[in-house]
């Protein structure tokens, strides 16, 4: 039947700021959870820029059954990832999705209620930046939704995420913690750690808001490459960023 049945819960990844690694976080968290034998659903609520499907290497058309839409899925390690994305519903991936708020709202409501996920251990929701139609729709549909916030170290990013914290308070979301991405780059030649975008902005934000700081994730060009090619799950080896996400996942998983 359609609708969501996620044994351990639904986690929405929010930021407020664009380009900090929300989709990357969802992809790697999903991969980490699935690799350990769990069944993980991912729902891409970023309708204008649905990058997640590329990152997890899933493409194709969504099919429907009597009860609703069937997500696309793939085995990952001992587990499974199932996904829905607008990219599975459009023919031309380069065509702009020029939708106003109400149409986006309607699509997200369908993703939330008309997909036959089957039994999931977790459902992860990727979101676009901002605090608008998509975000309000998700929060209205999922009371007390668990949220993970992602920021890069810069003050400009943390400022947007601070507003997102206010959004979470107003919508009674359950904020599990803050992740600081793009936190340092280790030169492959001399191992000097360059703070391209600073460091610590996410940690300071977590302290200011009294929210758990989940950890730093360094800049990782290899991860970027794998995500670009949709080869993340074929090469889920232990690079610095994957290791950071593994530690973060341990903090998020219910015992």
């Amino acid at each position: 039947s359609s609708g969501i049945n996620a044994e351990y819960g639904i986690i929405t990844v929010l930021s407020g700021k664009g380009g900090v690694g929300k989709s990357t976080t969802v992809a790697v968290l999903a991969g980490t959870l699935a690799s350990s034998g769990l069944s993980v659903g991912v729902l891409d609520a970023d309708l204008c820029g649905p990058s997640l499907s590329r990152m997890i290497g899933l493409k194709g058309s969504i099919h429907s059954c009597e009860q609703g839409w069937l997500p696309l899925s793939a085995s990952v390690g001992k587990g499974r990832i199932s996904a829905v994305s607008l990219s599975f519903l459009v023919e031309n991936q380069d065509e702009a999705v020029i939708w106003r708020g109400p149409k986006k709202t309607a699509m997200i409501k369908q993703f939330l209620s008309d997909v036959c996920w089957g039994a999931l251990d977790y459902l992860l929701i990727d979101t676009p930046p901002g605090t608008s139609d998509e975000h309000m729709t998700i929060m209205e549909a999922i009371p007390n939704c668990s949220v993970v916030l992602v920021t890069s170290p810069q003050a400009v990013a943390a400022a947007d995420v601070l507003r997102q914290v206010t959004f979470c308070k107003k919508t009674n979301a359950n904020v599990l913690g803050i992740i600081e991405t793009m936190s340092g780059f280790v030169c492959p030649n001399c191992s000097d750690c360059g703070l391209l975008f600073g460091k610590g902005g996410g940690k300071r934000l977590a302290e200011y808001c009294n929210i758990e700081f989940l950890g730093y994730v360094p800049i990782d060009p290899n991860l970027s490459r794998l995500l670009d090619r949709g080869e993340l799950f074929k090469n889920f080896q232990s690079s610095a960023s994957i290791q950071s996400y593994t530690e973060i996942t341990k903090k998020l998983i219910k015992p």
Partner: protein
Amino acid sequence: MIEPENVPDSCPGPSSEGAGQMDGCAGCPNKQACSTGQFRTDTSPAEVLASLQCVRNKIVVLSGKGGVGKSTVTAQIARGLAALDLSVGVVDVDVCGPSLARILGVNGQSVHKSAAGWSPVYTLDDIAVMSIDFLLSSEEDAVIWRGAKKNGMIKDFLSSVDWGELDYLVIDTPPGTSDEHLAIVSLLKQAKITGTVLVTTPQEVSLGDVRKEINFCRKLRLPVIGLVENMARYECPKCRTVSEIFPATSGGAQALADSEGMPLICSIPVCPQVGQSGDNGVEGLDIPTEYGILVEQVIRFCDG
């Protein structure tokens, strides 16, 4: 113009299709009136035209992808033009994530309204700025608005600000192809957008979204100045090794520019000083020279 009062946050907008009849209208005291079209107004390209009649060139900075540096590029274009003694204004229509005020060092300031409209906030280098940042009482205030309400604010930014005479008005946008972008195009129908600058980073995940934005521009016949590739490479300050932070797996911005038949204006490296100065709202030293190339190209396009 009479406007509905005590509207809920979920208001779809009195001029939207189905105004007064949508889920978000439940409980609103204006529900009946809206459903009869009492508050319906046309989006006002004519008002915007009148308001911007002394603004020579209107540039829109777009991406499709978040976090590629639209606001940074907008600020650098504005600063570069101002340094040439041109009169410049910037407006940030990313109402949920208004970064531009901080980058230009004017966040937290207030605007006041007179008969001539809102007065923009001026930076130290005389750039006129309008942003929702100036209307929020605290940096923790979230703008939790649906699309239609955002459109109303954008209309005010373009039609109710006393810009005075400007050589350039540069408009920063949020990522995507949604309400804000449609609002700008619609509102500037008569005043005319002079040119758009598209910003991307090298990786395919970014290019894919920017391809959509390019198609948006094509569909709506927006003039494109060109593509800017940001965060293209990083030079280690210690050993000078150059690394690709966001590796180009599909030819980077050059390949995209070639396939779309538009110029790649420049390819800008990651420069930590740019990020730091943006965070601190100051003009950076040692800004990549590529930004100068971008400013020259904008001027050349607008003058040509």
